[in-house]
Amino acid sequence: MNSRNRVVKDNLFKLFVFLLAALSILPLFLIIFQTVRNGISAINPEFFYKLPKPPGESGGGILNSLVGSFMLVILATAFSVPIGTLTGIFIAEVRNSFTELLRTLVNILQGLPSIVIGILAYLWVVKPMGGFSAISGAVALAVMMLPVIIKTTEETVRLVPFTLREASFSLGATYTKTIIKIILPASARGILSGIIVGTSRIIGETAPLLFTAFGNPFVNLNPMKPTDALPLLIFNYAMSPYEEWHKIAWGASLVLIIVVLGLNLLLKMVGKRWETKF
């Protein structure tokens, strides 16, 4: 009887664990369901190539924020990848108390609230430049991306076996050439994953953009001028009192979710296809 009791308990526990696991992913499905339901009707070809319409008129698109988000991501990547990759290599290659400190600081940087990073970008970039701009938004986003790039680079550089370094050095290569020609290419997958994870982290960030990129109802290609972004548009439109704008916000949310899911799929593919076999 005792053993039977144990089996029942065991099965109950398994069921419990399964239910909790299902519960934890339930919000994701609810979000996707709700966003698709409310957003799908806003999406048509026009949505991607037209500007938003004034309140009261139906239709219109989100071209300004699509272009803006794209520009912000490109700029943020351009700022953070060179710095992050080199820092990652440095932390992975050199082991002393300075790099130990650096590693701790990177962890702290990763935990900084995004709104604080936005305020810093406002002080460092917006104020000296005298106005809101895509550049300042990109700086804030780059600071958020940086720890992700640093950590993934560090991890993959660590994985490159020492025997490859030996092989490179024993052919007469210098340290610099070994890093550039051997270590970096062998770490390409990790760095690329870092860029993808970093992008999906910043693409939905609203707070650091509120007082940097600011938003713009028109398409802007000048990095020195205020720029719109998907999350900014969603924030502004969802807060508005107009029914049409709410619809646009739902549509933009759907686009944003699809982009993030797409980035995650891309990450899986990169992990499989680009894997360097040692």
Binding site: E166, F169, S170, L171, A173, K277
Partner: protein, 252 residues
């Protein structure tokens, strides 16, 4: 004994505060194969890693004494120059995973920033692969990744990569210990052919292999050079008790 290409004089090497090798004096004859034998941990790998100065890649590395290549002290030369003149092949095949077979062979030139014309590169690659007995097997897959080859082929690719730099000495650190018997015998045939044109120093654990391929044998025990001489002599009539005991399998 022929000309001596490499002279090791009063050489000490180790890690941190411990000397692994003590007072090594050894003269390596040109265009012969010198096998370095000894039980695990005796310092034989450390010794050949000092010959092309990759011992010092370890931040703990220490060394003292002199190694002369053609009369010039290699510790007074720039390490990258030494390493171009003295090539090395390691225990585990380590082709560069992001490079094709072709790029692997030419890697020494790429890594040294030496610009070559396409025809020059093609010739170096073909020559090196032929010397490494690999050309026929890979001539149609030159632009595939080197890591797709079998273990034995990868090791021959690494030998080709070292040969492409036209080194004066080739160091082999237990080059067959990670390979199956068939691949091992291919490498041995290759080594026997190579030693006609290049000086080879090979660390090996395998006594039978040393007998098969080497001209001279150095026996290292507890960090000291115990015996050095023509292979037949060292094996047939060792002068020292330690050598004899190692050869009959009392330790090692």
């Amino acid at each position: 004994m022929g000309d001596k290409i490499l002279k090791i004089e009063n050489f000490y090497a180790g890690y941190g505060h411990t000397w692994v090798l003590r007072n090594i004096n050894l003269e390596i004859p040109e265009k012969k194969l010198t096998a370095i034998m000894g039980p695990s941990g005796c310092g034989k790998s450390t010794l050949i890693r000092c010959i092309n100065r990759i011992h010092e890649l370890n931040p703990e590395a220490i060394y003292r004494g002199h190694i002369y290549l053609n009369g010039k002290d290699i510790y007074k030369m720039h390490p990258t120059i030494v390493r171009r003149k003295i090539g090395m092949v390691f225990q585990k095949p380590n082709p560069f995973p992001t490079m094709s077979v072709y790029e692997n062979v030419i890697a020494g030139y790429i890594l040294n920033g030496i610009k070559l014309k396409k025809e020059e590169k093609d010739k170096i690659v073909e020559d090196a692969l032929k010397k490494a007995f690999l050309w026929n097997e890979v001539k149609d897959v030159l632009h595939r990744k080197g890591t797709f080859l079998s273990g034995g082929q990868q090791q021959r690719l690494c030998i080709a990569r070292a040969l492409a730099m036209k080194p004066e000495i080739l160091l082999l650190d237990e080059p067959t210990s990670a390979l199956d018997p068939k691949a091992t015998s291919r490498i041995e045939e290759l080594i026997v052919e190579l030693k006609k044109t290049i000086t080879i120093v090979m660390v090996t654990h395998n006594i039978a292999q040393a007998v098969r391929v080497s001209d001279y044998t150095a026996f290292i025990y507890l960090g000291e050079l115990v015996e050095f001489g023509p292979t037949e002599k060292v094996f047939a009539a060792p002068e020292r008790k330690e050598t004899e005991e190692y050869l009959v399998g009392k330790f090692g």
